[in-house]
Amino acid sequence: MDNVLEQYGHLGILLIFAAVFPSIPLIASWAMFKFGLRPRLPNAIKSDTYECGVETEGPTWVQFNFRYYLVALIFVLFDVEVIFLFPLAVALDSVVVTGLVAALIFIAVLFLGLVYEWRRQALEWR
C-alpha cells in the first residue's frame, strides 16, 4: 500500500496483461485459419482500398487541412498550462491565500489567452 514503486509495478503487470488480452481473439482467429476453418483468399479487388466501390484517386498521405493543426496548437497551450495548476491545487492547504492569488493570476492569464484566441477567430471551425 505504501510503496509507490510497488503500485507502479502493479500497473506494469497490468500493462502486459492489457496487451495480451486483446491478442487472444486475434490468436484464436489465426488458429482458426490454421485449422482451415477461416478463409484467407485475398484477391486484387478485395485488397483494394475501400472507397464505396470507386477506384481511389490520388495519394491519401497529403498535406491536410490546417485547422486541425491549429486546434492541436491551442490544445497544447491549454493543457500544458492547466497541468501546472494541479500541484498548486494539492498544495493549497499550505499556501492558502498566497496560493489563491497566484492561481487567480494564472487563470486570468489563461483566460486572456482564450479571449485572444476567440477574438482572433482561432476557435472558429472554418
Binding site: M1, N3, V4, E6, Q7, G9, H10, L11, I13, L14, L15, I16, F17, A18, A19, F21, P22, P25, L26, A28, S29, M32, L37, R38, R40, P42, S47, D48, T49, Y50, E51, T56, T60, W61, Y68, V71, F75, F78, D79, V82, I83, L85, F86, A89, V90, L92, D93, V96, V97, G99, L100, A103, L104, I107, L110, F111, L114, E117, L123, W125
Partner: protein
Amino acid sequence: MTDLAQLSNVLGAWYDFRDLNNLQRLITEWIAEWGPDWLASIVTGVLGALGILAVIGPTLLILIWVERKVISRFQQRYGPNRVGPKGLLQPVADAVKLILKEQLAPRAADKLIFFLPPVLIFVPGILIWGVLPFGPRMSVADLNVGVLFLLAVSGTAVLVIFMAGWSSNNKYALFGAMRAVAMSISYEVPMVLALLTLVVFSGTMSVNGIVEWQQQEDVIFILLFPLSAIAFFFAASAELNRTPADISEAESEIVAGYHTEYSGMRFGLFYAVELGNTLVVSGFIATFFLGGWWLWGLDQWVPSWIILLVKTGAVYFLLIWTRGTLPRLRIDQLMSFCWKALVPATLLFVVVAFVERTLLISEGWDTTVALPIMAVFNIALTLGAIMLFARVARPAPLRRPARIRMAGTEIGGLRAARQVASRTEEPQFQVGGD
C-alpha cells in the same frame, strides 16, 4: 502446516467479500513466510490484473447485448431476440462469427502500423482500470497522482486511433482519424478542468482520496460542482466517440471512420473497445461525481464494489440514453461548443473552487454549514451558465423563404406560358432560340 484455527481465520477473511484487500494481505503474508518479498508483490499484481480482466471480458460480451437491446428499445424495435433466451447468446454468436471471418488488409496499407492498433487500442482502456477504486484503498495501483495518470493514459488512445487511420491509407479512415484527434484533444481540456475542480476541492490527486473526501464530508461532488459533472459527462462521451459526438465514425459521411479498413476480429476489437471504454468511463464518472464505492453508510453492509457497479450501471444507462436520443452534432458545432462553452464555464468553476477552498481553509468554517451554502451557490451558478448559454446559442429563427419571382421566363406552367405568349414585347430569355 496450517492448524484449524489458522484455517478458519483464512476462511473468515476469504468470505469477507466487502474488502478484497483482506485476500491480498493474506496472500502477501502467506508468501512472505516462504518466499522473497518481490514475489508477493508480483503475485498480488498478477491477481489484480487477472481480476480486472475477469471483470472486463464477460462484461464486454454482456454489454454488447445490453447496448443493442436498450438502443433498440429507444428506437421502438425488439433488438436481438433470436439467439438464445431474449437474444442473450447474440454476443457469443457475433464473437464466433468475427473470429471465423476473413481478415483483409488493404494492399496500400502500411502493414506494421496497420496491424498494431486493434491490440494497442485496448491498452489505455484497460490500464485506467488500474486506478479505479472498487472499495476503500481497493485498486490495483493506489497512486497518489491517480487523476493525472487517468488523464495521461486516456490521452494516448488518440495516438492509436491516428495510427489506425493513417496506416489504412484510406481517405475515409484518414478523415475519421483527423476528426477523432481534433475532437478528442479539444474535449480533453474541459475534462482536465472539470477534474481540476475536484482536485482543488478535495486537495488530493488520488482517485481514492477524492472518494474518501466525499465520504468524509458526506457530500457527492455532483451536488457541489454540477457543471463539472455535466462537462465531464459530455467530454467523456466525446472522447469515447459516442453518438452525440461520433463524427469520427459518422456512418453517413465517412463509412466507419478510422476503422473502415479493418475486418473480421480486428474490427470486433475496435467495436469492443468502445464498449469497454464506455464502461470504465462511467465507472470514473460514478467515482468522481457520485461517490464511488461510498453510499451514506450502506457500504458497511453491502460490498463496496456492488455499490460502485450499480452507480456505474446507472451512468452507463445515461450514456446509452444520450446515444439513443440525441442526434449527431456537426464538427463545427462540437468544436465551438467545446472551446466557447465548456472551456470558459469549467474555467469559471475552477476559480470558484479555488476561492471556496481557500475560504474553507483560511476562515476555518464548519463544513456542515459551509458546504450546503456553497452547493446551493454553485447549482445556481450552473443554472445561470446554462441559461446564458441557451440564450446566446439559440438558433436564429427560421426565415420564410422569399417569394420566387419569375422575371419574364418561360417557366411556370400553361398559364404563365399563355401570359408570355400574349405579351407584345419580346421575353428577356429565350430557350432554344437562335
